[in-house]
Symmetry: C2
Subunit: 366 residues, 2 copies
């Protein structure tokens, strides 16, 4: 069984997301359906932890289907989202003779997706791009067309908007993903519920164990809903002028925690889990009902995600990191705040003191 979802962005750039177990087997049929040309070589970009599991199989399938297939393997981890590794991908594209009709394929998580996507956006000023996500978190990065690499001074600062031709989400690939990565990815799934869909939040609460155990039907439903919600938001605001900011629930505090932990101690999904609890605390502080906080926290705990800030992290360092965040426009503090479960608001002028109190409280959460 295969679920299909369409990301709607106006005729020329809308694209399908296919979700299902073992649908990698159908890749040639899907490529054909989408008109990926055979005359020009394909380039698979993947990382050294994903490659041993799936690279040969994907290559074999595509070759059997009549495609010429090249690949480049980058080191696993965030440090591959750099201009140096980007140049390595472009070199591979040039040496492999990729032309304007070629397609660059991301086989991996969000890191490989962002890197391969920016390469596809820039090579010859833009070639086709296909995403084959292999992490739970990548349900998030496969919708929206945001692709980027990092600069040593800032994350995701060098990038483009480049929509994929399609996303082929084979949920069987998630079986090899480390458990902690599964949990962290589910944090973004829950986030999509919290910003948009109370019913889906309730469903997540009831199916946390199935999701953590990668039970396929539940997993596919969750990824489908996560992609659906993100794509609804994105298609209403493709170039990030306003609405899209709701996707940053938990990210203001989350990004600061990641930075202070030097991207070592906390995974992104773990950091935003804590950040979502923080946003709920601020919400209550602003006068919203207490259950927003208690339910958010309970839900994230069901997914065995962290809900408190490790004590050794310095409050002022976290505050400083937030001040550097892009989301602070001209000095004022902007936050995405839950107005209810499944509903958020963007609020400006949040007093820095409230945020500081929230950080302190997050250090005391159990």
């Amino acid at each position: 069984m295969m679920r299909e979802l369409s990301v709607d962005l106006g005729e020329a750039r809308s694209y399908p997301i296919y979700i299902g177990e073992n649908i990698l087997e159908d890749i040639v049929e899907l490529f054909k359906r989408r008109g990926i040309p055979k005359g020009s070589p394909l380039l698979i970009v993947t990382d050294n932890l994903v490659a041993p599991h799936y690279l040969d199989r994907l290559t074999g399938l595509l070759e059997t289907g009549g495609y010429k297939v090249l690949h480049t393997v980058v080191p696993a981890g965030e440090q591959s989202k750099s201009l140096e590794v980007f140049e390595q991908v472009i070199t591979a594209a040039l040496q492999g003779g990729l032309d304007r009709n070629s397609t660059i394929i991301a086989l991996g998580g969000g890191v490989v997706g962002d890197l391969a996507g920016f390469s596809a956006a820039s090579y010859m000023r833009g070639v086709r791009f296909v995403q084959i996500p292999t992490t739970v978190l990548a349900h998030d990065s496969s919708v929206g067309g945001k692709v980027a690499v990092n600069h040593r001074l800032a994350k995701n600062i060098i990038g483009a908007f480049h929509q994929p031709q399609m996303v082929v989400y084979d949920t069987a690939t998630l079986k090899s993903l480390p458990e902690r990565e599964v949990r962290a990815g589910l944090s973004e799934v829950v986030k999509h519920g919290l910003i948009w869909d109370r019913e889906f939040v309730a469903w997540c609460g009831e199916h946390s164990e199935e999701l953590l155990n990668l039970q396929q039907a539940a997993l596919q439903h969750a990824l489908y809903e996560g992609c659906r919600i993100k794509s609804l938001v994105v298609s209403q605001d493709e170039r990030e002028s306003g609405l899209r900011a709701v996707l940053n629930l938990g990210h203001t505090i989350g990004h600061a925690l990641e930075a202070v932990a030097k991207y070592q101690e906390l995974l992104h999904g773990e950091a935003i889990s804590i950040g979502m609890v923080g946003a709920a605390i601020l919400s209550v502080r602003m006068g919203n009902p207490e259950y927003i906080y208690t339910e958010t926290k309970k839900l994230l705990q069901k997914f065995r995600l962290p809900v408190s800030i490790p004590e050794h992290m310095d409050t002022e360092a976290i505050m400083r990191a937030m001040m550097h965040d892009k989301k602070f426009k001209e000095g004022t503090m902007v936050f995405v705040i839950p107005a209810d479960i499944g509903k958020v608001e963007i609020r400006g002028n949040i007093p820095a003191d409230w945020v500081r109190e929230t950080i302190e409280q997050l250090k005391k959460e159990a």
Copy 2:
């Protein structure tokens, strides 16, 4: 007096080109008219040969107008169109605190335009971009939104389509441009005539001396017409699907000559001057009237542009360089061929032998 031209690309991305002597003085007024925001810093990108002439003045004008202005100076020359220098521009943008509402300004020729343009396209996934061209050739690069840097294996291979907010073409700045650069730039002006407008070709023939002497009225007319023709072509084919290829008249042979000369001996405009004579030879070889060749050659000679290939250049090396050119789709040779003066056609399947003969003949031209 100021000429104004609009590049039409659908509401959101159309932009004006202003052409006139000393219109740099009006920059603040023009920025205001276009709504360039004052709250966010501007970054001027320029090169070390242009900076001494115009950087202080431009900075002073903008600061007097209430803008916060930063700059980064890159080494003059094609080698600055690299990922390394691109990273330098991004670093300057980050260190200067540029945000999403900032504007990157290219002050210089096509090199600075392409580099600053790609930086503006990529920084935070796209910020505003303004072009202040200071070469004749840059009339070409300021229309069309093509921005790029080079890879050591291929020119312009890493790039984007990113339209400027506006182009402010102060023709007084051309007075400091070396004469050889003036001539090379006029080669592209003539090219725009040859592909599109017989009358303008005739006008160019009559005004070559005024143009070479930078007589202002003639110069402004020529740049206006060059921009107008390019913008007509581009607005009909923004993403380069077909028509836009006519702009490559003279470029297939021209690029090969530049490559064989290792980008040392011939300026781009000089190389395409020779290439345009080559295209005219092929045209006659295909059965078109002889005057296409004689008039093309005479016109280019009036501009003291080269019309023959330096004898020491190896024919086979030139042929090989052409085979590497992007314009050869799947092995067949595609050429832009004049069908008449002011009119071109795109022809596929040109026998390699005809091209070889043409190269040989170009070595014998006087």
